[in-house]
Symmetry: C2
């Protein structure tokens, strides 16, 4: 393995190990020693890549944000219907929260009071949901009297709630749970005749939660 | 002031100060020195009441849980309609999260990974919502095809989301925001003829958020 490849691989192991340790004990009690040990590298190697714990946390958040961006862009590329794309993205996001420790760690850091930095993750998710609902409103897909802002607010609050509750009880993140959420909400969001074509369980061939494609 | 009264007063000051410091910096970085200073008492007085930081955190959570219990019992005592009682309790809870540092600190501790203890607060809220929705279902108040479990799940997820998002942006907790949430959700939860009598903004004469009765 050439040197550059090895360095990139070490960096990825460190980010993954940091995400695991942050998710287990929280940011402040997490020690760099525990993280390098978990990654199977020396303290020196850790410090070569990351000057301090905060830079590790930022790398976890950046990688989680990149995953969320890929996920939302992927959904939008293959699903024209803006409402269905929000349903699909919610399923994919919950699947990543259940099965991808970097995404879970990234959102966990966002909720850690001790970090005090503005997290890109929840904000980015909120913006994407709002943008999708604006498209839905423009295309006439929303029910009479339902605005994109009202719909986004409920969806963002509920998905943040599922994320947080899923941190201690993974059943909140299950496909079944998310499907029931949409079965309840979708009939209120749209009154167009083709409402019945929206799929609460997601329109994509589902990857089982916890077993996500790379 | 008799000695017992003074002790009770010191204890209350310490709980309040601890809630403030926990809410500001998180549980792990919070120092007992900062808490006793904030409460205006000596370290010795703090240790007379609380052996360690964990006992202070438990006292904050217990007082917050007591407030939530009083709140939900009060709502149920004056509001017979189970759906309306959930609407009313949500408004009151968000008002306390916005204006009562002990309630906010208690919920913040519930979300602190570093604490690792099962928090009574979110569980208790969830149980109350579930119990109210079961009553609503039994009285025939829920719409065809909507179960108490589905309805509770959405309400609990959304209210936990509002609580968490409200920690960095208080507008999520505003009466207006909570009212819009219910304006969107209520028409889906019930199809009984008297649905129009449910009040999304709450049926009680509202105490302005942030200015709650003692």
């Amino acid at each position: 393995m050439v040197k550059q490849e090895r360095a990139a691989r070490t960096r990825r192991s460190l980010i993954r190990a940091a995400a695991e340790v942050f998710a287990e004990v929280g940011f402040v009690p997490a020690s760099l020693g525990a993280i390098s040990k978990r990654a199977g590298v020396s303290n020196g190697a850790l410090h070569f890549h990351f000057a301090n714990k905060n830079m590790l946390a930022e790398a976890v958040e950046a990688e989680a944000a990149e995953t969320v961006r890929r996920l939302t862009e992927g959904v939008r590329a293959r699903q024209d219907d803006p409402l269905q794309s929000v349903v699909d993205a919610t399923h994919e996001l919950m699947g990543h929260l259940a099965g991808d420790v970097v995404v879970r760690g990234g959102f966990g850091l966002a909720g850690d009071i001790a970090r005090r930095t503005e997290s890109p993750l929840r904000k980015e998710w909120q913006r994407w949901v709002e943008d999708s609902l604006r498209r839905a409103e423009r295309s006439g897909a929303l029910a009479q009297g339902v605005s994109w802002a009202d719909a986004s607010r409920v969806i963002v609050a509920a998905t943040v709630g599922l994320e947080v509750l899923g941190g201690t009880d993974a059943s909140w993140l299950s496909r079944q749970n998310v499907t029931r959420f949409w079965e309840l909400l979708l009939p209120r969001l749209t009154d167009r005749p083709q409402a019945g074509t929206l799929v609460s369980s997601g329109s994509a061939a589902p990857a089982p939660h916890g077993h996500l494609p790379a």
